[in-house]
Symmetry: C2
Subunit: 333 residues, 2 copies
DNA sequence: ACATTCAATACAACCGGTTTCATTGCAAGC
DNA sequence: GCTTGCAATGAAACCGGTTGTATTGAATGT
């Protein structure tokens, strides 16, 4: 591959002039500029990003840490991040962390070793658990989706508590009183927030919350199927299931079918996230729309701001959600 | 951030010694090594990847071009690539190309400008359409999933033709004779291959192939729903639908439900890919298992080989598929 | 005791751009 | 005509590591 010196020689100028021809053409006379560009074209010269980035001490790269890239919700967030990244000429290194703290730590280190300029994390693990060197150097960091809004870095997500309350209220308004909850993993902030939302909705109607109606499990279809099996075989007269994700709901639908329930007549099921498959379930899933792509976009916009030197510290954006009413939740007597 | 010179000064050695302490500790005496490591630790020194990579003229980074990162099948392939990448200390830059040739070209250019060492492409667009500079410089390139096996680069995928034949034969063995085909986009190699497989299966039983029973459309749920609507309202006595992807099949199930079909009694539907959601469909989807993660792994293994200098040119791996029999296809008459 | 050998380390060039500072030359102003 | 100012360009330092070569010094052999 041709180098800047080759071009300089062919155009009979100095390397500095060639460099300027690309970075700030207005500094060159028209004739020189033409000569340089012609020489570059002839040699098919392309500046080495590696050399440029080394000089600048920037990578123009943002690391995205995803707990599971094969999860559609996360994939949509990444898609949004990607869109804004392209617009701003950033590259994305994507790392599937499997939600492992050690792997996330290595990711954060990539900023210190100049492999990435910043990190966008999908998940709730706070930065200080990943980076023990204190104030040694500030890591440009943004958390998206199930963020922990107590950190000093920007977070982008939804108001899980009120979104869950909205859905719970919808179930209550449909007349459901015996509502089972297929929750996600118990130790997750999201899970606790959504649970709090359900409590809020019940409290608003002065109804009691029954802890025994909650089954915890992974945020996955298999997890939902499993939890539903447990809950439905234990609690006979449940009329609705509040599932904390669409995947859990899809698993629950399978379990309910297998247990002989006629959906949605015998049992209402609600989801959370509004992934595309929900629309194609039988019955189509009533759920909460979470603007996944937009969350990704906003997260990346914040990252761009930070990397441009605009200090965005305590911003915790909560994007708006929407109730998506489909057929899986029915009114009851 | 501390630099190598700082460490050298503190340990009272030359920068070269510090460098060797990390790259080849055996070259140092025990006492010096200890002193250097202690100094590095004290200053929290981490070598700048940017400087190292610039020196090496390598990026340790592979670009993965994905037509749509939010597609679960592609996401699983990326997941497999990622796994092998981590093992081999490679980073992954993921680019969502939207199946756009111009964006893919820019991606390939990243190798020329030293932003990536090689490119793994998920899709079938041949390299020579993306890189017109001929033999100017060889781009380490591997194609995965719906690869075009006529190129001079390695490809990893499945034998779409015989996999489709296997599924078609299954439908025939179940007694289906009026089989509608919900095909993908007509101009895709995959589509044509799978169509050829269907023809093979019919020919093996000396049955005719009816072109009017094919509906083309995008490889998506909406596409499948649309195609199914068109085909089912036109062709009344179809007993089975061969769908070229699980997403198409899921759309078709929705359409069939909406048209009042009782599944699977009135109509059998088969998918292709074996995405996780298929198992949770109503009825659960009979499909062809495509080893997506493994395809990603093998693709990345080839990429590692190439980048280590092992010239792997004409390898076209076809990983084995499996028929996944579930409830959406029924025996008839 | 002196030559030989080898391990341990230092020195300095190098990777390929960018950028500062210096220099040149031409045009405008007095 | 000489100074001043500015546009155009070149020379060289620099980014922070790695590595080939030179140097030192201690151990070994005769």
């Amino acid at each position: 591959m041709a180098q800047i010196r080759d071009v300089a020689k062919l155009a009979a100028v100095s390397p500095a002039t060639v460099s300027r021809a690309f970075s700030d053409p207005s500094k060159l006379s028209t004739t020189t500029l033409e000569r340089v560009l012609a020489a570059a074209e002839e040699l098919k010269y392309k500046p080495s990003s590696l050399a440029q980035l080394f000089r600048e001490k920037r990578t123009n790269t943002v690391l995205v840490m995803v707990p599971d890239i094969a999860n559609v919700l996360f994939a949509r967030v990444v898609s949004g991040i990607e869109r804004v990244a392209v617009e701003n000429k950033f590259n994305l290194i994507v790392s599937d962390t499997g939600d492992d703290a050690a792997i996330e730590s290595v990711g954060v280190e990539m900023v210190e070793t100049y492999r990435a300029d910043g990190v966008i994390q999908l998940g709730e693990r706070p930065l200080d658990q990943l980076h023990h060197e204190g104030e040694h150097c500030a890591i440009p960091f943004v958390q998206a989706i199930s963020a922990d809004p107590r950190g000093r870095y920007p977070t982008v997500g939804i108001d899980d508590r009120s979104a869950a309350a909205m859905m719970a209220e919808h179930l209550l308004a449909c007349g459901h009183r015996r509502i089972g909850v297929l929750a996600g993993l118990k130790d997750r902030l999201v899970t606790q927030e959504r649970l709090a939302g359900i409590r809020d909705a019940l409290a608003a109607r002065e109804l009691p919350f029954d802890e025994t109606m909650v089954a915890y499990g992974p945020y996955s279809m298999a997890g939902g199927e499993n939890s539903a099996m447990r809950l439905l075989s234990r609690e006979r007269n449940v009329s609705a299931l509040f599932c904390m994700s669409d995947e859990i709901a899809i698993g629950a639908i399978r379990a309910a079918h297998d247990l002989g329930f006629n959906l949605p007549n015998d049992l209402s099921i609600s989801g959370f996230d509004n992934i595309e498959f929900g629309k194609y379930c039988t019955p189509p899933l009533t759920t909460v729309m979470q603007p996944a792509e937009r969350i990704g976009e906003v997260a990346m916009i914040h990252m761009c701001d930070i990397l441009r030197g605009h200090a965005v510290t305590g911003i915790h954006e909560m994007l708006s959600t929407e109730l998506v009413v489909r057929a899986s939740v029915r009114e009851v007597g």
